[in-house]
Symmetry: C2
Subunit: 216 residues, 2 copies
Amino acid sequence: MTANRTRGQKAGLTREAILEGAVRLVDRDGLAKLSMRRLGAEVDVEAMTLYHYFAGKDALLDGLVEHVFARADFSLAGGRSWQDGLRDYARSLRATLLEHPGLVPLVVSRPAVTEQSLRIMEHGLAELHAAGFGLRAALDLVYSLNEFVLGHLVSASNPAVPDTASVQEGHLTGIDPGEYPLISEAIRADRDREADTRFDVALEAIFRGFGDLRRT
Amino acid sequence: MTANRTRGQKAGLTREAILEGAVRLVDRDGLAKLSMRRLGAEVDVEAMTLYHYFAGKDALLDGLVEHVFARADFSLAGGRSWQDGLRDYARSLRATLLEHPGLVPLVVSRPAVTEQSLRIMEHGLAELHAAGFGLRAALDLVYSLNEFVLGHLVSASNPAVPDTASVQEGHLTGIDPGEYPLISEAIRADRDREADTRFDVALEAIFRGFGDLRRT
DNA sequence: TGATGATTCATACATCGTAAGTATAGACTG
DNA sequence: CAGTCTATACTTACGATGTATGAATCATCA
């Protein structure tokens, strides 16, 4: 009866194309709206077809993180000071995830022992070691840096703490200056600073703090 | 036909009891297994009954976070140095969430502008201001500290980075010493340290780094 | 041509959050 | 006592989800 329209092979559908569709969908509608059926519609195919390219939704999500990270070079380019190397790394990691805020919950909820991340870590340890850090201190620093960046991102990706960005033109969203005078005042003083600046200030503080651990 | 067993009133079911059941369920089976039906079973009631106490699942999850935090005193007890105050705060925040690791994804995915968190922040700003920090620097420090703790927790709550805890008795899970000699070495050197120690070391580094920002 | 393997789809199932409607028990009124 | 009200609890049902299963179609090569 019902003529089955288009089965069998179709125009070249690839893992890449699916992942790009997923990125588009997440960027547009958020992670919650990423269902197999929706993603199928996005790349013009039935949901079950996706299972030919990915073992399951988890595999797809893993691929998604990988895909986004693959296009971002987090190299700890050597040759300069360890601060410069780590700063570039942290900034580019942050920038990449800020471009796709919907992916932040994914990244933090997924084990990140990929080939690439391990290589970066190894490289980072080598540089820090050469810069005079003991291996243990170097490991502490690399861990802490990653943890700070991730924490910064999860805090930034939901309207959690009253952020500078959410305070436009002086209307402090929901913070009563009478009840919380210092918060209001601090946020007001912070109004003209970019979020990037806050991030950088914290970075430098972390570097200063860990700098004392060299030759341990 | 089928005799309807027990409708109408029952033993005193309360919001508190439901939330405690939810905590139990999450601690036992993880956040993913927290469904209204399961939670209903846990507190011996049908799923829909829960909607009498909570507007929806989101409200329940909000309540869950609140409930756990309510039992943890994150006071920035004054009178001592600002380092002591912030350290106690960070440690107890971490300790609380380590007791309920299943809640970590919830905490980081939920705006945390509760009454309590704002009060703590206000209090923290006051202390830091008194200790010689400019308001802006104080805000940076409080933010960064929170972000670091959260990042530390999300990293610890999944088997993401090869953690010291996962390296038992010298068998480095999945890290090839040939390919990543420094990581293996660093982890081996780290074997005998508690995770608490790593956290504390990072805390002190952050304090040192931000300490230079006083009188700004 | 016919066979083979890659690709796509239709159907079905269990589970989820929850809207809508119904039944019961206790408190209050007369 | 009977009658009513309300808080509490349950039943049923709907749409959305991830995915197991198996059939249908296409490209390719013998």
